[in-house]
Every structure is written in structure tokens, then in C-alpha cells.
């Protein structure tokens, strides 16, 4: 096959076996790669009801159709599994270099199944794949792990690209991430699943390049598309010099920047942590670029840490979501402190977004008197207290005390333990902490969070941009009638990006027609536009069906009470609350789902997913019985 390698590595950690299997051409055409392909394997291979941290769960580390090809920003990798945090299908993405290197070694993905009794490191060098004892790596942070793995490999023709987990993944903390190249596949506890299999690291050295169906045509497309990305004011200026936090002051002006556990107030100190501030204080006027593979946008910047004990260490970022949730939402407006926290989280292997959301929630609970110092490791855990905040971050990373345990396992477990009315203001959907946009700011954002199959998500799809920031793709944030169709359309387009594993930022300039042309040049699949678009819809229906099989439906497609009842207090969206209930029935209807949000047999068959119908019969019967009762 062209564009993709057509091969997967399957590692059974229980049996200590390694197999290379081919991807059927029709399967590749129907599911492309990334999200849809991982969801296809997951729903067939992961049995309903299994323990996500047991040996029966699988972890799919897949590239996309355009990963490692010359396509602009084609560098991403997905980590997909049954989430131990949400118990839904989860797909978490990372940029960087690891995914392209896997393609260069001749594989589209790795499937990890079973569980090893002892820690292992998987090393791939083209056709040689080995399981290496990793007892000496166990206990290391991700920075130490990468260094030790590279040292163990000795001199190599190319530097190995190393993916690893930190101590959080080893402990199977529910907020554990997988880290590679200082990028994180963080959400949903994918690092805990890797840790449950005792896989500490996966290193790759590849010497090939994916073959392309139409090399000349592809390169002409790439040249023209990169030229457009280099002219767009967002990609060639805002992201390039002010990174992802370029939006922070805009989000704050809307009233949507999380501040003090989504208080609904603007952050009065936001100027200190904006992209404009980071450009000057951390990033050498925005020129400390550390781009992902084959990216002309270069949104990621590095910062050289100065704090005692960390002098000279490099932090990539911090990115907007980290600044918004780990910083602003905890009342912290010190960019250098946030950069250090980001570095620490990457080392421990934790999701900065969920950790930030959970610390802020605990600060709120402490302020309301719902928890005392017995639950905060003795800390006076107040919003904006830099010392308490840093101590909380280290407690989470080291798994220390009640506080470390509460933070590292997420906001729902914490709220369940704290009780009272805390679940009403715990900012999450299906257990996944909100991204750094208050969903009261726009009905599209609210619906997007509530109905997303893996929980509150800023990329499935990112409609906040359309509701507030974009001047060219604008929708009214306050109307509900138009949002079901909008969310269906944009989420399917976003899912397509996740099948190709192309960075979303390419979408600031390039559209799905551009990507269709790239995919056809790379693969020769000769898709029509409707065929191509259907892959995105197929991906969403597979992920939705996976959740439905586990018992997820309308009852889980909700925002916490506070966000439906307490209005935003400041900003352009002042006075607004979310109205998800008004939108869900229409959304389900146009998606072809029943009134419990479960894909109907007709919709599944229309998408060529007839094999899923039987899997869902029990889910449908259960929902009908619940309604009858």
C-alpha cells in the first residue's frame, strides 16, 4: 500500500510475543488510520465490561494516513484504549517525532495487549523488534527514561525517538499520560494503561520513508499548502510567535478563561500569562522554536528553566491549555512557575489539564470548607497560593498523601469522596475535566463537551473558536437551534483530521478538500469527497457505540449543575448559562441515534458498520427497560 505501510506490530505482554500483521486494504480504505482505525480494532478486540487496567484491555498506538508523509503538519500519533478514567473509548494525540519515526520503521501502529509481569522496554529498529528488561528504568521520570534508553542503545545511525511513562503511569494513576518528545498523549489515563502492561518505554529507529502513490503531485500540493500556511496571519504570526497562548487574552475577554475553578470571573492578572507575555518573558521574543516534525507553523516554543535545582532544564511550552487550567484556574499568574510545573508534569507523566482542573476544584472545596488540612497534606490550599500550588503538583507527581491521591485520580473520584454538593461544581463530563474554555460562553461549546464520547474535549470539535475568536467562520454563540447540525458537521471534520493524524492548526488555512487531495496523492485510494467525509462520521459512530456498549447514553451527556444554572459573571458572554437539554434531542436525531444517544442499526449499516449492531442490542434493550421503568 502507498501512503501507509499496511503493517501493525502486535505485542502480547503476557505471552512475551511479537507479531507483525498486515492491514487489509479494504479496512485501510474504510477507516484510513488514527481514530477510526483504532476504534475499529478497539470495538472488535476489547470485550465489554473489562477492567481498563487489567490485561484484557488493549492500547493502540497508531499513526494516521498522513503521519510521516510530506503532508503539512502530518506528525501526530494517537493513543487509544478503554479509558480507566472515563471507561469510554478514548483517543489522545501527540505531535512531535515519534509517530513519523514509526512510519519510517515501516509500521502504521503498535497494539499492546496482555500485561507483562516485569517492566519492559520495546525497541524497534526497522524489522528488528525486541522486548528488553526495563527493571532499571522503573521509578524514573520520563526525562531520565529517555536519557537512559538512548544510553542503553549506544551509538545509533539516527537518534532513537522514545515514548515513555513516568512514575504516575507506573502507579496507574488515572490522570497518567504518555510522553514523547516533550509532547503528551495525556487525556483519559492512557499512561495508566501503558503502566498496567508494565511497558515503560518504546523506542524507534526507522530508516525508510512511506511510499507515495503520486510523489510529484503530492510535493506540488505540499509546496502550495505550506505557502498558504506561511501567509495566514494566525499560522505565520499568532501561533508562530505567541504560541497557543496567543488566544488567552481573547478567551479572558469573553469571560471563558477558567479562573479559580471556573468561577465565571475574568482573570485580572491574565496579562502576565498571555501569549504576548510568554513571547517576551519565556521564549526569546517568540523565536525559541521547537516545532513538531514537518511543521512550518512552529507553535511550540522552549523555555530554559532558571529555578534552583532545575537551571538549564528545557520546558517545551507551556501550552494554552496548561496555562489556562494548571495556571489561571488555580489563580496562578506566574509564567515561569507554570513553565516549571509543566516540566514537572511531563516528567512525572501526568495530564497538565486534568491535574490543573482537579487542583483548582480542591482549592474551591477547601475554600468552601468541604475539605480540611487532613485532605491537603497540611497545606493551606488557597487559590493563588504559589507555594501550596507547587506542593500540590509535587504531591500529585510523587503520589504523596491524601492530596496526591486525590489529584492524580481526577475530579470525579475526588468529588465522590468529598460529597456534599461538590459534584455540582466539579468541571467535567464523563469524568474528563473541562478544557480551558468555560462552556457557559457558547451553546456550541456546551453541546460539544456534553455529547463527546470521551468526555469534555476541546478538539472534538473546537467550536469556541467559531463562536468567539474567528472572524471568517463565525457562528452566534447564544443560539441553540443551529448548534446540533454545526456540532455534527464540525465533529466529523475534526474526526477526519484525527484519522489522518494531522495537527488541527493546519485547519486555520487548509480545508477538507485540501486533505482529500493529499490523501489521494499519498494513497491512490481515489476517494470521492462523500466517501472521504464518511470516514469521520464512521469514527464518531464507532467511538459512540463503544461507549453505548458500556452503558453510556443521554444520562452521561450532561454538564454539571453549576454550568446550567449559575451565569458567567464577566466578559462578553456575561450572564449566559448552557442549555444542553434543548439541543440533545435534535443532535441525536440528525446523527441517526436513538433518543438515548445510541447509534441506530440503520445508521450503523449505512456507514458499513453492521458488525456493531449485535454488540449494541443489549445497550438498546437496557435503555428501553430504563425508560419503561
Amino acid at each position: 500500500m502507498k501512503g501507509i505501510c499496511g503493517r501493525l506490530i502486535r505485542v502480547n505482554l503476557t505471552r512475551n510475543s511479537i507479531d507483525v500483521e498486515t492491514i487489509d486494504k479494504e479496512v485501510a480504505r474504510k477507516y484510513l488510520g488514527g481514530k477510526a482505525l483504532a476504534a475499529y480494532y478497539a470495538i472488535r478486540e476489547i470485550t465489554k465490561g473489562i477492567d481498563p487496567l487489567g490485561p484484557d484491555n488493549n492500547l493502540y498506538l497508531f499513526t494516521g494516513t498522513l503521519t510521516g508523509t510530506p503532508a503539512p503538519l502530518g506528525n501526530r500519533t494517537v493513543a487509544a484504549t478503554k479509558s480507566p478514567l472515563t471507561r469510554t473509548f478514548t483517543d489522545s494525540y501527540m505531535g512531535g517525532y515519534w509517530g513519523p519515526e514509526l512510519k519510517f520503521a515501516g509500521y502504521d501502529g503498535i497494539i499492546l495487549e496482555g500485561a507483562s509481569p516485569e517492566p519492559v522496554h520495546i525497541h524497534i529498529q526497522d524489522d528488528e523488534i525486541s522486548l528488553v528488561d526495563a527493571k532499571d528504568l522503573w521509578g524514573m521520570d520520563t526525562w531520565q527514561t529517555v536519557e537512559a534508553v538512548k544510553k542503553s542503545l549506544g551509538t545509533t545511525k539516527r537518534p532513537a525517538k522514545v515514548m515513555s511513562i513516568g512514575q504516575a503511569g507506573e502507579r496507574k494513576d488515572l490522570l497518567a499520560a504518555i510522553i514523547a518528545d516533550a509532547r503528551a498523549a495525556a487525556r483519559g489515563g492512557v499512561g495508566a494503561v501503558m503502566g498496567s502492561k508494565k511497558v515503560k518505554a518504546i523506542s524507534i529507529i526507522g530508516s525508510k520513508r512511506p511510499q507515495l502513490h503520486d510523489q510529484k503531485g503530492m510535493m506540488a500540493l505540499v509546496k502550495a499548502q505550506n505557502a498558504r500556511l506561511n501567509k495566514n496571519p494566525v499560522t505565520n504570526d499568532a501561533l508562530r510567535y505567541r504560541g497557543t497562548p496567543n488566544i488567552l487574552l481573547g478567551v479572558n475577554a469573553v469571560g471563558a478563561l477558567p479562573y479559580n475553578n471556573f468561577s465565571g470571573d475574568e482573570n485580572p492578572g491574565a496579562d502576565q500569562i498571555s501569549g504576548e507575555a510568554m513571547q517576551k518573558t519565556l521564549w526569546n521574543d517568540g523565536k525559541n522554536w521547537h516545532p513538531c516534525w514537518n511543521c512550518v507553523v512552529k507553535c511550540t516554543h522552549y523555555h530554559v528553566l532558571e529555578q534552583p535545582g532545575f537551571e538549564g532544564k528545557i520546558d517545551d511550552g507551556p501550552e494554552y491549555e496548561t496555562v489556562g487550567l494548571l495556571g489561571s484556574n488555580c489563580g496562578i499568574n506566574d509564567p515561569k512557575a507554570i513553565a516549571l510545573a509543566d516540566y514537572l508534569m511531563d516528567g512525572y507523566g501526568l495530564d497538565t489539564m486534568s491535574v490543573g482542573g482537579t487542583i483548582a476544584f480542591l482549592m474551591d472545596c477547601y475554600g468552601r470548607g468541604l475539605i480540611g488540612k487532613d485532605m491537603t497534606n497540611g497545606l493551606d490550599l488557597k487559590f493563588g497560593d504559589l507555594n501550596a500550588w507547587m506542593a500540590a503538583i509535587n504531591a500529585a507527581g510523587k503520589g504523596e498523601g491524601n492530596l496526591g491521591r486525590l489529584i492524580a485520580n481526577g475530579v470525579v473520584k475526588a468529588a465522590a469522596e468529598i460529597g456534599h454538593d461538590s459534584m455540582d461544581f466539579a468541571p467535567q463530563v464523563k469524568g474528563l475535566v473541562f478544557p480551558a474554555y468555560d462552556p457557559r460562553s457558547g451553546e456550541g461549546t456546551a453541546l460539544s463537551y456534553a455529547r463527546c464520547e470521551r468526555g469534555a474535549d476541546h478538539l472534538k470539535p473546537w467550536v469556541f473558536h467559531m463562536e468567539w475568536l474567528s472572524s471568517t467562520q463565525r457562528v452566534d454563540p447564544f443560539t441553540t437551534e443551529d448548534k446540533p447540525a454545526l456540532i455534527k458537521m464540525v465533529s466529523e471534520g475534526s474526526a477526519l483530521f484525527d484519522c489522518l493524524c494531522v495537527c488541527r492548526f493546519a485547519g486555520n488555512e487548509l480545508n477538507t478538500e485540501d486533505f482529500l487531495a493529499l490523501v489521494n496523492a499519498a494513497t491512490g485510494f481515489n476517494y470521492t469527497y462523500p466517501e472521504f467525509w464518511a470516514v469521520g462520521e464512521r469514527a464518531i459512530n464507532l467511538a459512540r457505540a463503544f461507549g453505548a456498549r458500556e452503558g453510556f447514553g443521554r444520562a452521561q451527556d450532561v454538564l454539571p449543575k453549576k454550568f446550567n444554572t449559575v451565569p458567567l459573571r464577566e466578559g462578553l458572554a456575561k450572564g449566559s448559562v448552557a442549555h444542553v437539554d434543548r439541543m440533545l434531542p435534535k443532535y441525536y436525531e440528525i446523527c441517526g441515534w436513538d433518543d438515548n444517544g445510541v447509534p441506530t442499526p440503520e445508521k450503523l449499516r449505512e456507514l458499513g458498520l453492521g458488525f456493531v449492531v449485535d454488540e449494541l442490542k443489549e445497550a438498546v434493550r437496557g435503555a428501553e427497560a430504563a425508560r419503561a421503568a
Partner: protein, 96 residues
């Protein structure tokens, strides 16, 4: 105090001599009229970055709100302003 308040956000502040302004509202004032007022407070990049007086065109990549409504959902440059209105100017942004 009656009048119109202007809030310039983020990078767009670099085009002006202040991050915020207040203007006494003149009869029938529109966004176009406001931009003409603002041009006196702006640096040399104003025409390119915000509004080109010669061609009467606003930079397509900026967003301008009157209270909570973006002016493209109102009457664009012809949007009338009223006492107490807050105008917010956002530069091109994306990320997350």
C-alpha cells in the same frame, strides 16, 4: 458616564497608544466613524491591521464586538453605536 468604551485585546494593543479608550458619542456614530476616531490614536500599521480608510475595508481577520455581538452579525462598519456600548477589538487568534 455616557459614551462608548473601547477595549483593545492582546496583540492588537500594539497598534494603538492605549489598551482602552472612551469616546463621547456623536450623533449617528457608527463603527466606521469610531475607526476614524481611533486612527488618530493608532500607529502606522493601523490601515493594514485594523481598517484601511482609503479603501473603507476592515482587516478580515480581526473580530470587533459591540457588547456581545460581532459586527458582521450586525451591520458591519455601518453598525450604529449607542450610549454605554462597549466595543472590543480582537486580533487574529487561534490555538488551544
Amino acid at each position: 458616564m455616557p459614551g462608548v468604551s473601547i477595549k483593545i485585546v492582546g496583540y492588537a494593543r500594539g497598534f494603538f497608544d492605549s489598551p482602552s479608550y472612551s469616546f463621547i458619542l456623536s450623533e449617528g456614530m457608527t463603527i466606521r466613524g469610531l475607526f476614524l476616531e481611533l486612527s488618530g490614536h493608532a500607529g502606522p500599521d493601523f490601515d493594514r491591521a485594523i481598517y484601511d480608510i482609503k479603501t473603507d475595508r476592515m482587516n478580515e481577520h480581526i473580530a470587533v464586538f459591540v457588547n456581545s455581538k460581532e459586527i458582521r452579525a450586525l451591520k458591519g462598519l455601518d453598525t450604529r453605536l449607542h450610549d454605554g456600548d462597549v466595543v472590543t477589538i480582537l486580533p487574529p487568534m487561534a490555538g488551544g
